[in-house]
């Protein structure tokens, strides 16, 4: 079962529906115990970093997530879920993240419209399994005001918006995508299918 973590942040139903549309067994879970038997964990989310992290801590999700990643269970962070994988964010003051990857979350420079809303392209830096069959320059749907400033080692793809930033992060079986694959038509579904096929 692909478990979609409900920690009170955003439109989770569309993530669950996308996996179900693809024919996979997926469910939204709202208590950490429900995630113990899951084969895959998905951490979505749209809200502010501080609120999101506080909910993860208070509702007891951190241990489940870190243990799953340690064990090599496939993990996918989407949008805020990607940002939470890193050390810290400067959104609304300084907040600590899950610390699975080194790097921090910073605001877009003012030269561009913020939030970035719409379809933008990825430049692939590293061939990873979730990008199987996804061409260089593919468009995905993005909505965000802050971006991940990560080191090259964990950058699997980048996107240009005033500057070049990390749009896909990867480390072993843990992946994070800044865009919304569940809102990115067939190319997004392809990425979700690739993720669901990981073991």
């Amino acid at each position: 079962m692909i478990a979609v973590i409900d920690y009170g942040m955003g439109n989770l139903r569309s993530v669950e529906k996308a996996f179900q549309f693809l024919g996979f067994d997926a469910a939204i879970i709202d208590r950490p115990e429900q995630g113990e038997g899951a084969t895959h964990l998905v951490l979505p989310g749209d809200a502010a970093f501080g609120d999101a992290m506080r909910n993860l801590v208070e509702e007891g999700w951190v241990d489940l997530i870190l243990r799953a990643v340690e064990q090599g269970k496939p993990f996918l962070g989407i949008c805020m879920g990607l940002q939470l994988m890193f050390d810290e964010s400067e959104e609304g003051g300084k907040h600590r993240g899950l610390g699975m990857l080194p790097g921090k979350i910073v605001k877009f420079p003012v030269a561009e419209r913020v939030p970035q809303i719409g379809w933008n392209q990825i430049a692939i830096k590293r061939s990873i399994e979730i990008l199987d069959g996804i061409p260089e320059g593919s468009y995905f749907y993005f909505v965000h005001s802050y971006y991940v400033d990560a080191d090259d080692e964990h950058r699997a793809a980048t996107t240009e918006y005033g500057l070049e930033y990390t749009s896909i992060a990867a480390r072993d079986n843990a992946f994070g995508v800044q865009f919304h694959p569940e809102k990115s038509q067939q190319i997004g579904l392809r990425l979700l299918r690739n993720f669901a096929h990981l073991s």
Binding site: G10, N11, R13, S14, K17, A18, F21, L22, G23, F24, D46, A47, A48, V110, R113, V114, P115, Q116, I117, G118, W119, N120, Q121, Y139, Y141, F142, V143, H144, S145, E160, Y161, H180, E182, K183, S184, Q185, Q186, G188, L189, R190, R193, A196, H197
Partner: protein
């Protein structure tokens, strides 16, 4: 590079899609679910559902449509029309919409945008504004007044001041709808979009007046809009979405060209 977006708008009344001419719904333009599926295949960048009955029955119908569409269509869906309270907003977002578009209530219920942005994030709160041009003397800059209740009630608010206020309160995106241009097919109000784009940092979605691919081109370049909303040119198949995108691409506007391969990416 971030692509300019093409967004078909479905005005829904009693479960049918209708086309508006200067804000009066008159003509049936088909089944919204079929239209949504067609726009998805054609590569629409988002879809907007607008409940023009603006009643609780109307909203229930729209939300049923959104649920049905969202089972198969994986692009962002926005719902607007008749949102009065924070609870309306919450129900729409819980019901499967990715964004909620708030118009009159932002004027009559000053806290709704801030509450929505704080609870759900600015990214899903769209500030929609209906404006009518104010008479100005020759040589003066154009000015617009904000109208509510489907364009029937003047508010006395200046559009440029009002959009600043909406963004301060937390709207993550603005839809600018020109009442003068709505349904005329004479083109978007370019000065309106350009003027607002210069005073706020959030993306602007232009609405009202689209009659051709050339109009879309104008508002995305000269008008500085990030996205163009259109209804009847797509509903009645005067243009297809790929046709408009090709027109834009040929003139150097970044767009996402999309080819639906017919497959559904099922796992088995």
């Amino acid at each position: 590079m971030l692509a300019k977006r093409i967004i078909p708008c479905l005005d829904v009344k009693e479960g049918r899609n209708v086309r508006g001419v200067r804000f009066s719904a008159d003509k049936d333009a088909g089944d919204p679910v079929e239209l949504a599926a067609r726009y998805d295949r054609e590569g629409a960048d988002e879809l907007v559902f607008y409940d023009i009955t603006a009643s609780s029955d109307g909203r229930a119908i729209v939300m049923d449509l959104v649920r049905e569409v969202s089972e198969k269509v994986f692009i962002p869906l926005t719902v607007g029309g008749g949102i009065r309270t924070f609870d309306d907003m919450r129900q729409i977002l819980k019901g499967g919409a990715d964004k909620v578009s708030v118009n009159s209530a932002a004027v009559t219920n000053p806290d709704i945008i801030r509450q929505g942005a704080e609870s759900f994030g600015s990214q899903c709160i769209v500030g929609a504004v209906d404006v009518l041009r104010r008479p100005v003397a020759d040589g003066e800059d154009p000015a617009w007044e904000v109208y509510i209740n489907g364009g029937r009630k003047a508010t006395g608010l200046d559009a440029v001041e009002w959009v600043r206020e909406l963004v301060d309160r937390g709207a993550g995106e603005l839809v600018l709808n020109s009442i003068d241009a709505d349904g005329t097919k004479d083109g978007y109000d370019l000065a309106l979009n350009h003027t607002v784009a210069a005073v706020v940092d959030v993306p602007i979605v232009a609405s009202g007046g689209c009659g051709s691919a050339e109009h879309v081109y104008q508002v995305l370049t000269e008008g500085m809009a990030s996205a163009a909303l259109a209804a009847s040119i797509f509903h009645y198949e005067e243009y297809s979405i790929p046709q408009v995108k090709r027109y834009l691409k040929d003139r150097g506007v970044p767009v996402r060209e999309y080819e639906h391969d017919g497959g559904e990416w099922r796992s088995t």
